[in-house]
């Protein structure tokens, strides 16, 4: 099986005036389709920077990043926009939904930028919302201020799924939620992973990371641990039984 992500010696240095800060110090790892990877570490460990690079929102200072066997560092801005549009789905910690437009319109946005004809959009949008666990159509025409935090994150997941991306990238998706609603959102991710979706979850919270099948621990821009999460696998088998 070919890896979906192949990182080789990724370095990211920020220059602020005369001060150079190296946030990522040569990371190498691969991710295969169907993995549920949690990248974890204390704040300042470089996990958000890594997520931005993985999501082609930012480019590495040096090193090679191959997404589905394509070298991302050689792409133009428009090609990167195309990748973000079709191959990657984002879920952020906050400000996920545009406040002025309805749930449906929010979920539709990636389809609009990907150039999907208007007539085809509603059915795709509805399917994505159902996959993300928003199956009550009364929510569809609400705006984000009429939804709960958990609902907002699940609408964001629906939007991330709508273009059927190769990877779902989530940056602290439960950071603004209480534990109970956070649990619902994490279960949504697990269900998606069970159906074969590749998910990369960035979190500082060990409890949240435990939901993944593999955990990469970062500290000071280096990988200090990369291991399969046996507990998670066992629990999953339990729930299936």
């Amino acid at each position: 099986m070919k890896p979906i992500i192949a990182c080789a010696n990724i370095v990211k240095t920020f220059v602020n005036g005369d001060v150079k800060t190296t946030v990522l110090k040569g990371l190498s790892f691969t991710v295969f389709p169907g993995e549920f990877l949690a990248i974890t570490g204390p704040s300042g460990s470089g996990k958000s920077t890594l997520m931005h690079i993985l999501g082609v929102l930012d480019s590495p200072t040096s090193g090679q990043y191959q997404l589905e066997q394509n070298d991302v560092s050689k792409m133009t801005d428009n090609q990167l926009a195309e990748i973000r549009s079709k191959r990657i789905g984002f879920v952020f910690q906050a400000f996920n939904l545009l406040p002025r437009i309805s749930v449906l319109r929010n979920v539709e946005l990636p389809l609009m930028y990907a150039g999907v004809p208007r007539a085809k959009r509603p059915s795709i949008t509805h399917r994505a919302l159902q996959k993300a666990g928003i199956d009550d159509p009364t929510h569809y025409h609400k705006r984000s201020n009429q939804l709960s935090g958990g609902q907002i994150q699940r609408v964001a997941i629906a939007r991330a799924l709508v273009n059927d991306p190769a990877i779902l990238l989530a940056d602290e998706p439960t950071g603004n939620l209480d534990q109970k609603t956070g649990q619902v959102v994490l279960e949504t991710f697990q269900k998606l992973n069970d159906s074969g979706r590749t998910i990369i979850l960035i979190t500082h919270d060990q409890y949240v990371a435990e939901h993944a099948t593999r955990i990469i621990k970062l500290r000071d821009g280096c990988i200090i641990e990369d291991s399969a999460n046996k507990r998670s696998a066992e629990e999953r088998i339990k729930t299936r039984l």
Partner: protein
């Protein structure tokens, strides 16, 4: 991103902030409507001047005395000299080949009374050919005849406004006796209403035989102007030249520049007056144009604020697949849409203002298609020009910077 998406995005963005969009639009509405209304005022004035001068008569050439020249360095105003005489007019009548009709005038303002009422009116001593030359027709009665001129008859043809003021609205004044400068005149006719022009309207004039005016009213034999009607439009210039030559010879003046009379044709008067009114139009348009530019800057200001305010949104949009072009197009469409809708309301408002001004008689404002198209075109380009920079700024934001923006 297809056009329908662009418009629905623009719609929800503009309607999401109704107050701000409305106020920005107001700047454009005021700019456009003032352009339309003020240019309309200028064009209305031009048209009024042109029509009032055309109503003086067709293919008209007017000769008036020059400034009086005394021994000293002080010269009197134009027309103050008494250099034109009946003999000059007779000579023109005899010698001119390009003239269809010639008539003399001796005008002055006098107090006119009828029983208890009195008014001040322009009394024009003239000849039988006057109505044809000056395009004046009679509503009732008859005009002055050659016989009345020869016999110094004290008869008068009055304008409809004079009749209304002095005798009564739509009364029949024929046969009544009015007093001009305390001398009794019998009314023999009323001219038809010409209306319109403020300059030299015939509605406010009284016509008497030229001989009567010279002997009983002015007490002098000079005349205040000679009107010549050229045979046709093409011969106006030739007739003007001919009249000038005849008079120069009669007055024994070799240099045309020092002539003691002035020969003007209608086209000269029209062009000199319309050049004034087109300057007026230009000036009014320029003032209105400034408000349009101010409105445009308002748009730029609003768009820049919006870009700053929506930085996170731009980041999110880019993260989920928006290209730079999509972002810049969206902001540009918003700016253009504001000016477009503002322009539409502006045209309607400007047109309404012009109509109300005209209807209430405050001013004649004429809204023409070119001025509407011009204002609209300017508005559209204002939107594009002033929306371009904010749109570029939005498009150039890096998604990562935009997302991190607090």
């Amino acid at each position: 991103m297809i056009l329908a998406d662009l418009f629905s995005e623009t719609y929800s963005n503009l309607f999401g902030n109704k107050v701000r969009s409305g106020l920005t639009m107001l700047g454009i509405v005021i700019g456009i409507s003032s352009v339309i209304a003020l240019v309309g005022v200028g064009q209305g004035a031009t048209q009024q001047v042109t029509s009032s001068i055309t109503s003086l008569g067709s293919n008209l050439i007017m000769i008036s005395p020059g400034a009086s020249r005394n021994a000293g360095p002080v010269s009197g105003g134009a027309g103050s000299a008494t250099t034109l005489t009946m003999d000059d007019a007779e000579a023109l009548k005899e010698q001119m080949t390009y003239a269809k009709a010639i008539s003399t005038e001796l005008s002055r303002r006098y107090q006119v009374t009828y029983k208890g009422s009195n008014t001040n009116a322009q009394v024009i001593g003239t000849e039988t050919t006057y109505p044809t030359i000056r395009n004046v027709s009679l509503a009732s009665g008859s005009f002055i005849t050659d016989q009345q001129i020869q016999t110094y008859a004290k008869v008068a043809v009055i304008g409809p406004s004079i009749r209304d003021e002095l005798i009564g609205e739509n009364a029949d004044p024929i046969g009544l006796t009015i007093k001009i400068n305390k001398i009794q005149f019998k009314v023999i006719g009323v001219t038809a209403t010409k209306g319109g022009s403020e300059i030299n309207t015939s509605d406010n004039s009284i016509y008497v035989p030229i001989s009567t005016a010279q002997r009983f009213l002015a007490g002098k034999s000079s005349i205040s102007s000679i009107d010549i009607q050229a045979i046709d439009e093409k011969s106006v210039d030739a007739a003007q030249q001919e009249a000038t030559n005849i008079l120069l010879e009669r007055h024994d003046i070799s240099d045309a520049a020092s002539a003691d009379f002035r020969v003007q044709n209608q086209a000269d008067i029209v062009s000199s007056l319309t050049s004034t009114t087109s300057t007026l139009t230009l000036l009014l348009g320029a003032i209105a144009g400034i408000s349009l530019i101010v409105g445009g800057i308002g748009i730029m200001n609003m768009m820049l604020t919006t870009v700053t305010e929506r930085t996170k949104e731009i980041g999110l949009r880019k993260a989920i697949g928006a290209k730079s072009r999509d972002i810049s197009l969206q902001f540009l469409t918003e700016a253009t849409m504001i000016t477009f809708i503002g322009g539409l309301f502006g045209v309607l408002l400007g047109w309404a203002i012009a109509t109300i001004m005209t209807k209430t008689g405050l001013m004649t404002a004429m809204v023409t298609w070119p001025s509407v198209l011009l204002a609209f075109g300017v508005a559209a380009s204002v939107g594009i020009v002033f929306g371009f920079y904010p749109a570029q700024r939005a498009a150039k934001l890096r998604p990562i910077d935009a997302l991190k923006y607090e």
